[in-house]
Symmetry: C2
Subunit: 403 residues, 2 copies
């Protein structure tokens, strides 16, 4: 059960964008698993991808095609990641793009491929090819909900959000969808998020804005510490509204909305983390550098002992301190470390706070949303990471995923 997260009831169409989703039978039965997203001519496209060295074939091909410019189509399949598939995987990703180009009457370089699902199996390209005419025929502006559901793998709910943004020359729409609930520790991007707006913006501007929004959102979540091979986050600006940001205030407004949408989607991924029962906001402050703060946050967020204690609603703060202590911070003066869980001061002076009671700890740990604040007392840098607990269901899901 996702934590305080429900599927959106509607997603706003974005002028200049059409989508379709069909059942291609790639891996799952009786569900849609193939999406085509079309942007109007002259749309700007920005994207960030995984930094996993074993990045998937579609990531390599999408990067190549983006560099050529003029992208018009996003082809997205679930059920098969086309990762760890070597030269054959690259050829399959390129062939899929060529088939789309043939059906839609564009160049193959105008198609960006995306895949998510099991690693190491060959992509069934013939099934994709057979499904393409149906996809092309089904394209419509109001198909975001179907696309959102078709890109799910172990997700238990679809994740999507829409915003209207009022700029000085008019109003634009921003809609985004994302999937992912395991192998989540994004590094430059996350497991498949697609955003589009009818704002008018150059590719370079868009790329800079997306990079900044991803840094504070998708790159600050972790479910299990495992960076995926297929992470990708794409932002399309169709320009169909004719509204171009006029000056810094407009750019700030659009960037803020984009950040809010990315924050929502990133946190939605954690709320639907595999087996998750608790949503944890982990803040580390008082560090010497942001990297040091993040290092401590990551050590805590990835500790299986911390995560199983969170699952048990057990205020076993000693495990959190142990993770802070092993995070590799040079010359950490533990007597300056302070920790609060929610509104309860738990640690000060490197040990249990004088007024802490086990009852107060239990009360705050019983909540479904748990904010943890660790103050290192050695500087003014900080970091924030969103994560979840580690439950029986995480093991069940990941022990059964391929069976």
């Amino acid at each position: 059960m996702p934590i305080n997260l429900t599927e959106p009831t509607e997603l706003l169409p974005v002028p200049g964008i059409r989508l379709a989703a069909v059942e291609a039978g790639i891996r799952y039965k009786s569900r849609r698993d193939l999406v085509l997203m079309e942007a109007c001519a002259d749309a700007s496209v920005a994207a960030v991808f995984t930094r996993n060295a074993f990045c998937a074939a579609p990531v390599i091909v999408a990067r190549e095609h983006l560099a050529v410019g003029g992208a018009r189509y996003l082809l997205i399949n679930s059920g098969n990641a086309n990762a760890g598939t070597g030269e054959r995987g690259l050829a399959d990703a390129r062939a899929s793009c060529a088939h789309v180009a043939e059906v839609m009457g564009c160049r193959a370089e105008q198609v960006l491929p995306f895949s998510t699902g099991v690693i190491g199996e060959l992509l069934p390209v013939p099934r994709i090819r057979e499904a393409l005419p149906g996809l092309a025929a089904g394209l419509g502006a109001d198909r975001w909900m179907g696309a959102m559901r078709a890109i799910m793998t172990t997700d238990t709910v679809g994740k999507g959000i829409s915003r209207r943004i009022t700029l000085s020359r008019g109003t634009v729409t921003l809609t985004g969808i994302a999937k992912g609930s395991g192998m989540i520790r994004p590094d430059m991007a996350t497991m498949l998020a697609f955003l589009a707006s009818d704002v008018a913006m150059s590719g370079a501007e868009l790329q800079e804005m997306l990079g900044s929004a991803v840094k504070g959102s998708f790159n600050c979540i972790t479910v299990d510490g495992d960076t995926s091979t297929n992470d990708a986050c794409v932002l399309v600006a169709t320009g169909a509204s004719g509204v171009r940001p006029a000056g810094d205030e407009d750019r700030r407004r659009f960037a803020a909305a984009l950040q809010a949408v990315c924050d929502y989607l990133a946190q939605a991924i954690v709320r639907d983390g595999e087996g998750a029962t608790k949503f944890i906001t982990l803040e580390v402050s008082g560090a010497r550098t942001p990297a040091e703060a993040r290092q401590v946050a990551d050590a805590v967020a990835h500790s299986p002992l911390v995560k199983t204690a969170l699952f048990a609603s057990d205020p076993n703060w000693g495990r959190i301190l142990a993770a802070v202590g092993r995070a590799g911070v040079p010359d950490l003066d533990v007597s300056r470390v302070r920790m609060e869980i929610g509104d309860v001061l738990i640690v000060e002076g490197g040990g249990r706070a004088a007024r802490y009671t086990e009852e107060a700890g239990k009360r705050v740990m019983a909540q479904s949303e748990i904010p943890i604040h660790i103050h290192l007392g050695r500087g003014s840098a900080e970091a924030r990471v969103y994560t979840c607990d580690f439950s029986f269901d995480y093991v069940r899901i990941n022990a059964e995923y391929r069976s």
Copy 2:
């Protein structure tokens, strides 16, 4: 159930060492939880401790007392780690040593305290004090088995081993015991291992030999990536045999036996890892530096996705590749990466090996001992790490540990 590990049926006494174990009622009911180990006068004592910045009070006090020299007594309790207990914890550890000194007629600095168990609770010093006369009265040379069992926490079997080592001037005995099955990622030492020999050796020689043995054994295991606050490994040389190593060949022989004993105990900790069902030997070769090889080994060994796939006996090698890819190796050429699980070549050229079959993968993954070899193809450095899988029982044990 530990993996191919049974409790020793006997442990050899070490001349110059006496031990006792009693029920002090520190946390557990109806089991022995307090050990006193006495070394004869003039014994040499070497030790390595955790590098966790939040090291426990007994670690701080034991380091101080070791620096003074002349250590004669090791006081070890299970059930309470005396960690995260601030100034009060330090005072409690010192008081425990003072009580031993009073009963045994030595200086408090000649007592080294060790604790293992739950973090963040105060040590019940009065119970320890009450138990001391009984401990003193019970000291005997043949009490290693009782001591081995008394230091257990979530361990399911006691871990111990004895060796006789023939040196040119006579034969010496080496006996060691260890505990630990969770919060295991030793960094300079592991969760409580005590070794003793009647060999005659200086403290400096002993310390060098222990440091080297620990590096290749306890520092190469990981259960959950969480370095403990209480890790300690102690080696006592009583000299009671009168046998001093004569020359390099003798030193080499003793060092080899010490390495073998440390290897056995370190691997025993992983075989009895919390919830473990598989014992994994992870070899990374072809790296540019040993640190790089270790970095890749750690990324794989700590991946929850890899560990749950191992639990499921699922040859989901894509998860292993993904962990290698996110390990942070600069400019990794994935086309040079090769991977074998047991005798099955699974990956070559960065993708599935041509002759690999799912059946072969399933066969090798069904074994209880799984060797994984990852060759990076970019140098000649290597690393080896021992780890275990991640099961329902790991979550159960760590969600229930304090309840």
